[in-house]
């Protein structure tokens, strides 16, 4: 039911029980990027996050994939399109463990997810982020994102909203 996408170096697949360690490890850190994802979280809270990410697919028909580095087979993060009821906009979201950053994986995974989004009724595919999330702003720009709004969200935080264009065919290879 959950599609599998392939890029040059990555496979995007459904989250599964074996991914618990990657979720828990990423979300347990008090420093670094986990703060943008509600961290630091305990192991049981990380499990509930994993379950909610998988449940999102069951309830919505779209959600976050696990991002797997094909050369090593290891799961290095997540990427996908999410929108809980009660949240005004969908978003392309992604996270990567620390030692998988800096290799263009977020860009590569995002392009596959964006292409899938356009093929499944998201037009335009959007993303939004807090002002202090510099990595997410940089990625949105790298993906050709165009600033379309600045809004205050239900959690009280004001975020820039970007429309992300369809990736050109040469940049992706999805199965």
């Amino acid at each position: 039911m959950i599609p599998v996408l392939e890029t040059e170096r990555l496979t995007l697949r459904a989250p599964e029980m074996a991914d618990q360690a990657v979720y828990a490890g990423f979300l347990a850190r008090a420093d670094g990027p986990s703060a943008f994802y509600g961290g630091p979280l305990r192991e049981d809270q990380a499990f509930q996050r994993l379950a909610a990410d998988l449940g999102h697919w069951h309830l919505r028909g779209h959600g976050k994939w696990m991002v797997v580095e094909r050369a090593t087979g290891r799961a290095v993060g997540g990427c996908g399109l999410v929108q809980p009821t009660g949240w005004p906009r969908h978003e392309l979201t992604w996270w990567l463990i620390e030692d998988a950053r800096g290799q263009g994986y977020a860009t590569e995974a995002s392009r596959a997810a964006i292409a899938w989004g356009y093929a499944h009724g998201f037009d335009p595919v959007e993303t939004h982020m807090r002002d202090e999330n510099a990595a997410a702003h940089a990625l949105a720009k790298r993906l050709g994102g165009r600033l379309i709004a600045r809004e205050t969200f239900p959690d009280g935080a004001t975020r820039d909203v970007y429309a992300l264009p369809q990736p050109v065919a040469a940049e992706r290879r999805s199965a």
């Binding site: 599964e16 029980m17 618990q20 828990a24 305990r42 192991e43 049981d44 990380a46 499990f47 509930q48 994993l50 379950a51 909610a52 990410d53 998988l54 449940g55 999102h56 069951h58 309830l59 809980p84 009821t85 009660g86 949240w87 239900p154 959690d155």
Partner: protein, 174 residues
Amino acid sequence: MIPTLETERLILRPLCEETDFEPMAAFFASERSGFYGGPCDRAQAWRKTAVYPGHWALRGYGPFALEEKATGRFAGLAGPWFPEGFPEPEITWMLCDGFEGRGLATEAALRGLRFAYETLGWRTAVSSIEPRNGPSLRVAERLGAVHEYDFRIGDSDLGIFRHLSPAVLAEMAA
């Protein structure tokens, strides 16, 4: 894939977003949700709702949505539950506002316990309960569960209550 079960007053079935999300959001907006990670806003409540189908997909089992037969209304959740990091798989329950005080949690939890023993093949089961959660402590007592040990998680010491064994439960049903 998720079965449907029945008790005298309840249907235990898969969660359905259309009928169940608004009552879940109302529950998570209330102070009563404090023992279940609330209170929180609608978007957070939706994420907490998505946990249940995800739990079923990850574990092959999970809590059921409770539907009151007489009214067709969503009454809460109950059934097998096992977040990673907890010491043992357990039977959990939660009732929405207006469904308390009528023995529905006990009825649902008992059906969930029998499902865990008879269908999932569990040989034992516990429930973890916050010591200040009086209504849930009384449900555990009515089920014949006995406090066995404490488990510290975050800032709270959860009491771990051991349920009646499969043999004893089968004997009582006979």
